[in-house]
């Protein structure tokens, strides 16, 4: 009898200590250097995921969850996104996190939705991502929220009546911002809007600058990713255009690469970001210190958004029992707030979160926090 009791005790202990493996798909460009934005080989994204897993290891262990991270590398080819999204969907992954930009997010969302696998987009901000509904979870504020702030700056701070928009028409993020910004400006009765269309993959914008010189405007909206935006601003300032420039979160927040491309050219610029390394909240300071210590570099907004999203996913994983895609989706949908490094976020299920954003203004050497915009229902 004693022996049976001992065996039962061992069995219970073993079962209690057995871990459940949760496979998480990491979707990003891990193999190619992008010509439009600086996130070499998905480094900022991957580092933040690793840090989030590390920071939450105790919680995961306690919950008996062992995370297995599987990379889905789609390079710089959008069509590969579809292929990789399908691969991830048909794998044993319980969720996918990644697709750092709007186009991959928009391409992958219907695939994951159809496959009923929860997907978290940490930094994609296209407005349409909020329309996919179930299984789609967003970590970034929407383009709409960004242009609301930018339109206000254009109309009220800069008192601009005529706006020139330089849109990369092969960039979903850019066209989405452009369209939203145009609509938002109407609220301020700014309707004199001119567009110059370009392609994101181009690197020489001399012709664009020459075309812009022929137009009359008070401010230029450059809704492109950081390297493209910097090349455009460099070309226009080189052509003698001194009007202020406006941009969204694509410009980045630290601006090292952005200002490297500009090569010291001076301009006045306003942009939006989710977070800044100089944000002195407790979580932010700790995150910057940990990130720098671990990876010997400063994090950027991709890092911090990925970190918060992964933390959000881990929290959901811990609460989900048993771990299935459907159960995880239910848990994710039930969480409507997160106190992350970027601040407190609130959201309706499957919608972009509401949280503070930062308005940055250019200085001679980089970006500086100009103001903090708090959405209705969100605060630091």
């Amino acid at each position: 009898m004693k022996s049976l009791l001992a065996l039962f005790t061992i069995f219970v202990a073993t079962v209690a200590q057995a871990k459940v493996t949760a496979t998480i798909g990491l979707a990003s460009n891990f193999s190619e250097l992008s010509t439009v934005s600086f996130n070499p080989f998905g480094g900022f994204f991957q580092n933040a995921i690793e840090l989030a897993v590390s920071d939450n290891k105790a919680l995961l262990d306690k919950a008996g969850i062992k995370l297995e991270l599987v990379k889905y590398d789609y390079g710089t080819n959008d069509i590969n996104v579809i292929k990789k999204a399908k691969e991830a969907s048909s794998s044993n992954a319980i969720a996918v996190i990644g697709y750092n930009y709007s186009a991959p997010a928009l391409l992958s969302a219907p695939i994951h939705t159809e496959a009923k696998i929860p997907v978290i987009y940490p930094s994609a901000s296209a407005n349409r991502l909020g329309t996919f509904g179930k299984y789609v979870h967003l970590g970034s504020i929407s383009n709409q929220f960004m242009v609301e702030s930018l339109a206000k700056i254009a109309a009220q701070t800069l008192n601009a009546k005529r706006i020139l928009i330089l849109t990369a028409v092969d960039c979903a993020y850019c066209t989405d911002l452009s369209k939203s910004f145009t609509e938002e400006l109407k609220k301020y009765r700014v309707t004199d809007i001119q567009n110059i269309q370009l392609l994101e993959k181009e690197t020489d914008f001399f012709k664009v600058a020459e075309e812009a010189k022929k137009l009359s405007f008070d401010a230029v909206f450059v809704p492109n990713q950081e390297l493209t935006a910097a090349r455009l601003i460099a070309a226009l300032t080189e052509a003698g255009i001194t009007k202020p420039f406006l941009g969204a979160d694509g410009w980045g927040n630290e601006g090292a690469e952005f200002f490297r491309v500009l090569k010291g050219k001076k301009f006045t610029g306003y942009s939006v970001t989710h977070w800044h390394t100089k944000l002195k909240t407790k979580k932010s300071v700790r995150f910057v210190a940990e990130y720098k210590k671990r990876f010997d570099k400063l994090p950027n907004d991709t890092s911090v958004l990925a970190y918060d999203s992964m933390t959000f996913l881990i929290q959901a994983l811990i609460k989900t029992k048993p771990l299935t895609r459907e159960n995880l989706e239910k848990t994710l949908s039930s969480i409507n707030a997160l106190d992350g490094v970027t601040g407190k976020s609130y959201w309706e299920p499957h919608q972009a979160p509401k949280k503070n954003i930062l308005i940055l203004k250019t200085t001679d050497t980089g970006f500086a926090i100009n103001q903090i915009v708090t959405p209705k229902g969100g605060s630091l």
């Binding site: 186009a103 349409r128 028409v169 066209t175």
Partner: protein
């Protein structure tokens, strides 16, 4: 042998070069045409399909993402400009393909190539497909000439340049060979041939590359032949008349003396005196005739001398005595400035001929200028350490032109004579290892003959 004319040769080279050029050009253009056809068919297809995969990937998001839909037009426009296309468009099926691409049916699984009806355009049609979903087709067409234009122009220029270069090189090498080597070699052959002709050597049959040179050679030969004949006839006439003239006088004296004897009776008291006269005439004139004959013969043969130690002054004095009547008759004053003893190892008999010749020439030359000058001849002999200088100067008009020509056969400034005197004198002096030279003298302003005899 039959050689071609220079003109014909040049023509031949030109034709040869032209034929070479034609063959090379034909070959090049044949190769070029073959390649151009391949360029037209292959290059256009390669150009159109080079970036097709990337382009279809670039277009697909335009179908999948409404945000990027408006990018399609700009992308199409950029591709059209970048690739110098005639047309680019997205089509749903073959009905949207331009009608001049007859039977161009898009394939959902592969890229197809279509020629236009008039073969001036080539098109490719590629499916815009993601997994099993076909969103449409990208249609790109390009002028067949446009791809080949730049490359073709470069190739054509290079080929033409190469052909012209080769042609010029061939022509240049042939002409250089002709002008720098063939012609000089031929001229050199002709000169050698002329020298052989003049020297009467046996002629080798030389081979000349041009008919003109062959003709020239024979013309030169004819001229030499004619010159030789004229010269021979002149020499014969000159020698004959000279000999006849020189022999005529002494022979006439002998004939006259003979007639005087013949006119007398056998027992006539004057007969012994006339016979004595005939004898004297023969004694005095026959050696003179013999000398004329020997001089003539010596002009064409080597002179043998027999040296002995003797007084050269004796030869001088003897020459003056022998020409005494000759000088006196012409009122020419002969002066001598020579030591009494001038012993030297020489052939006195042969050298007497030299002295006679020089003195008689001097007397005759001095006579020619008697109207303006007192006719004079001066003989000077100077004893040197190793030789004796014997100088004969006259008051004549001196030499005109090169005096050295006087020592050639049949050259004379006189109206009569064989023209062999000075040649024989030169031979005799040179046989003594001496030298003889002619110049214009300063003493009387006439000719100056100087003989140098080694002691």
């Amino acid at each position: 042998m039959s050689s071609k004319s220079l003109k014909q040769k040049v023509t031949d080279i030109s034709i040869y070069s032209f034929m070479c050029m034609s063959v090379i050009m034909f070959t090049c253009f044949w190769l070029y045409s073959a390649k151009k056809n391949k360029i037209t068919e292959g290059q256009i297809r390669a150009d159109l399909t080079a970036n097709l995969r990337n382009q279809t990937n670039q277009f697909l998001p335009s179908f999948l993402l409404p945000e990027q839909e408006q990018g399609m037009t700009l992308i199409l426009s950029k591709i059209k400009t970048d690739e110098n296309l005639e047309d680019i468009r997205i089509v749903k099926d073959h009905e949207e393909i331009p009608s001049y691409f007859k039977d161009c049916r898009p394939n959902e699984n592969t890229v197809i190539t279509c020629p236009s009806n008039d073969l001036s355009l080539t098109a490719v049609v590629a499916p815009l497909k993601e997994m099993n979903t076909v969103y449409g087709f990208i249609f790109k067409s390009k002028k067949n000439s446009s791809a080949a234009n730049l490359q073709g122009a470069i190739e054509f220029a290079l080929v033409s340049l190469a052909i012209i270069g080769i042609a010029f090189l061939v022509i240049y090498l042939r002409l250089r060979l002709l002008i720098a080597k063939t012609l000089p070699d031929s001229m050199s052959q002709i000169v050698q041939w002329i020298e052989a002709e003049i020297e009467g050597k046996e002629l080798e049959n030389i081979s000349l590359p041009f008919k003109e040179l062959e003709d020239l050679k024979f013309k030169i030969a004819e001229v030499i032949e004619r010159a030789n004949k004229s010269r021979d006839q002149a020499i014969i006439g000159q020698v004959t008349s000279g000999i006849m003239h020189d022999i005529k006088t002494p022979l006439h004296s002998i004939v006259t003396a003979t007639h005087l004897v013949a006119e007398q009776e056998t027992l006539s008291p004057d007969r012994p005196m006339l016979l004595e006269n005939l004898f004297n005439m023969c004694t005095n004139n026959i050696p003179f005739i013999r000398e004329i004959i020997e001089t003539t013969l010596d002009g064409n043969r080597n002179i043998q001398i027999k040296k002995s130690n003797a007084n050269l002054r004796d030869s001088i004095d003897k020459a003056i005595i022998l020409t005494q009547d000759f000088s006196r008759y012409r009122n020419v004053s002969v002066e001598v400035d020579a030591p009494e003893k001038l012993f030297i190892n020489y052939d006195a008999a042969q050298f007497a001929r030299v002295m006679n010749n020089l003195l008689k020439n001097g007397i005759e030359a001095a006579t020619e200028s008697f109207a303006t000058k007192t006719p004079r001849v001066r003989i000077t002999a100077i004893q040197r350490e190793s030789h004796i200088n014997l100088i004969v100067e006259d008051s004549g008009s001196g030499f005109k032109g090169s005096p050295e020509k006087l020592f050639r056969a049949f050259r004379t400034t006189k109206t009569r004579g064989t023209g062999l005197g000075l040649l024989v004198s030169k031979k005799i002096v040179e046989a003594h290892n001496g030298k003889i030279k002619a110049s214009n003298g300063s003493t009387y302003g006439g000719a100056r003959m100087e003989v140098e005899l080694p002691i």
